[in-house]
């Protein structure tokens, strides 16, 4: 690769590089900071993310492969990058008070969050299976460390260990899948895979490889039956990290699904192999996630199962291999990110230090003691349940419409029924807040401005996307248009 190509390629990946460099800067900067000037970590982080966002806007364009066909830059990547940058920015804001409260080393924390974000962005920019693998490993290992960051807390240790063990296991399956595809086709570039498939290059080895890839990625997205790690890990990890984990790695896993299955295994005879599998997994996930969530005693664990259920709804959109399906996944991921980050922030604020962690009783009477906070939580709960005019409703509407359009009526029906079921456990929280007396629990400290910013941004975002869904949907459709144009 000569100098001009190198320069061009680097320019195309500037957003990713910026996030990486910001992480490195924070890592070094933190060595020189005093407790008074610690806030510079967050400031530098946010500035870096803003710069990366500007680069994202400037590099978005027609699909082009860079770095010797290892990475691809297109509108789809740009959309995902913007989403990941938003997740990272909100995480930095909501972690600001959490990091100080728990006393974790801030520099490494933010650096790991930013490195994980770099991993997310490379997943969305991957043009080759090996890049998908490495990007997923990057984000996973950073997240394993983040989950275990409260080193003396046994819950955190346990969460980190379980996440690591099962995560590494799924990576091994994913890698075996890549090896099998490599063996069958001699190539791991996704576009080449699609071309080879288009020429009728078909062997049972490909099916095995595809199955292994589904196992590997299914774990990351926490779909049933690969979801076993999620409730324990989400419950045990530090709450700010859990908020990050439900948003970032999950969105990245769906980005990987889109790249691998909508760009790679995209020929009709392949689609008819994986679409039914996806449908089955989606149905299982929606059913199990929602029903088990009802039985939970801890709010954090309930939100963990709800996160699994929402991955199921998003998976429904994957089944529909059409423009509406792909764009509704993008819309749903943004909506879910906002809802999840918002609700976990409230969780983080209300959590008590002693006593059962994240018990529902903490929320009793919140409507009278902290009306604004309760209103936010109510909004998040209604959004997650899918009430209009929130983004949750619009997201589910688009996703189920995509399924109907592709002929999967039964799947959309299951989605609707399970959504109704979910209303039960979401409104339980709302009723607790407004219809029970406050039980004299430990008072909630004043909210830091950063936390209020997160709550404000997510709430406004949810309402905006719910009332004016067209804006984001049009962006999403524009991003996925190239996937369904006639191929050569």
């Amino acid at each position: 690769m000569d100098a001009t190509a190198l320069l061009e390629s680097t320019g195309a990946l500037l957003p990713h590089m910026t996030v990486l460099v910001t992480g490195l800067v924070i890592l070094t900067l933190d060595l020189f900071l005093t407790p008074q000037s610690r806030y510079l970590n967050e400031v530098v982080g946010l500035i870096g993310l803003l710069v990366a966002f500007l680069f994202t806007l400037s590099t978005a364009g027609a699909p082009r492969q860079v770095f010797m066909a290892m990475a691809v830059v297109d509108y789809l990547g740009a959309f995902f990058n913007a989403t990941f940058l938003l997740i990272a920015a909100l995480t930095i804001l909501l972690s600001a008070s959490y990091v100080r409260r728990e006393g974790v080393s801030a520099g490494e924390y933010y650096a790991l969050v930013l490195f994980a974000t770099t991993g997310f962005m490379f997943v969305a920019a991957a043009a080759d299976l090996i890049m998908v693998f490495l990007a997923i490993e990057t984000l996973s290992i950073a997240t394993y460390i983040l989950a275990g960051l409260l080193r003396e807390d046994p819950h955190s240790q346990e969460a980190a260990f379980k996440y690591f063990m099962l995560g590494a296991l799924s990576s091994a399956f994913f890698l075996y899948g890549i090896a099998t595809i490599y063996g069958a086709l001699g190539n791991t570039n996704l576009v080449n895979v699609a071309q080879a498939l288009g020429q009728g290059d078909f062997s049972p080895l490909l099916l095995m490889g595809m199955a292994l890839l589904i196992v590997g990625l299914g774990f990351k997205a926490a779909v049933v039956p690969f979801h076993m790690w999620a409730p324990d890990v989400y419950e045990g990890a530090p709450t700010a990290v859990t908020a990050f984990m439900t948003a970032g790695p999950k969105a990245a896993a769906f980005a990987a699904f889109l790249r691998v299955f909508f760009q790679g295994f995209t020929t009709p005879d392949m689609v008819q192999h994986w679409a039914p599998i996806f449908a089955f997994l989606a149905a299982l996930t929606m059913i199990l996630g929602n029903f088990v969530a009802m039985a939970q005693q801890s709010l954090k664990r309930m939100l963990a199962y709800s996160s699994i259920a929402h991955a199921g709804y998003a998976f429904v959109a994957l089944v529909a291999h059409n423009t509406l399906g792909a764009s509704s996944i993008l819309y749903y991921l943004v909506a879910y990110t906002l809802m999840s980050l918002g609700s976990f922030t409230v969780l983080m604020v209300v959590a008590r230090r002693e006593g059962p962690l994240y018990a529902f009783d903490d929320y009793a009477g919140l409507g009278t003691t902290h009306p604004l906070l309760a209103a936010m939580m109510a909004l998040f709960m209604f959004a997650l349940a899918g009430f209009p005019p929130t983004a949750g409703f619009a997201g589910k509407f688009y996703v189920f419409s995509a399924a109907v359009q592709a002929g999967y009526y039964w799947l959309a029906l299951i989605g609707l029924l399970t959504s109704v079921v979910s209303v039960v456990y979401y409104t339980r929280v709302v009723m607790l807040m407004y219809m029970r007396e406050p039980n004299g629990a430990q008072p909630i400290p004043r909210l830091a401005p950063t936390t209020m910013a997160v709550l404000g941004i997510t709430a406004i975002g949810i309402l905006y996307m719910g009332i004016f869904p067209g804006g984001v949907m049009r962006l999403a459709e524009h991003s996925v248009a190239f996937l369904f144009q006639a191929k050569m």
Binding site: L134, P154, A160, F161, G183, G236
Partner: protein, 100 residues
Amino acid sequence: MIPLPHYLTVSAILFTTGAIGVLMRRNALIMLMSLELMLNAVNLSFVAYARLHQDMGGHVFVFLSITVAAVEAAVGLAILLTIFRTRATVDVDNLHLLQR
């Protein structure tokens, strides 16, 4: 000459053995080693397929895969140490604080 499928069979056997180890053993260190066994098995597949297609890409994948496995081992051991410090055991049946 050894036909290619023989190598692939060995790889599959090692992979399954490792998977059994990760899922069935109770000692965290042995779980970690079983995981390494799985990754080794996949590397063997890569090299075998590289030989089939006469493509150096497989060898590069192995190089990168070994690196990733090394990082995973390091981080996994670090997590294991935090657990051991509190509990003085690496028996995973002790990890039951988070309700199943």
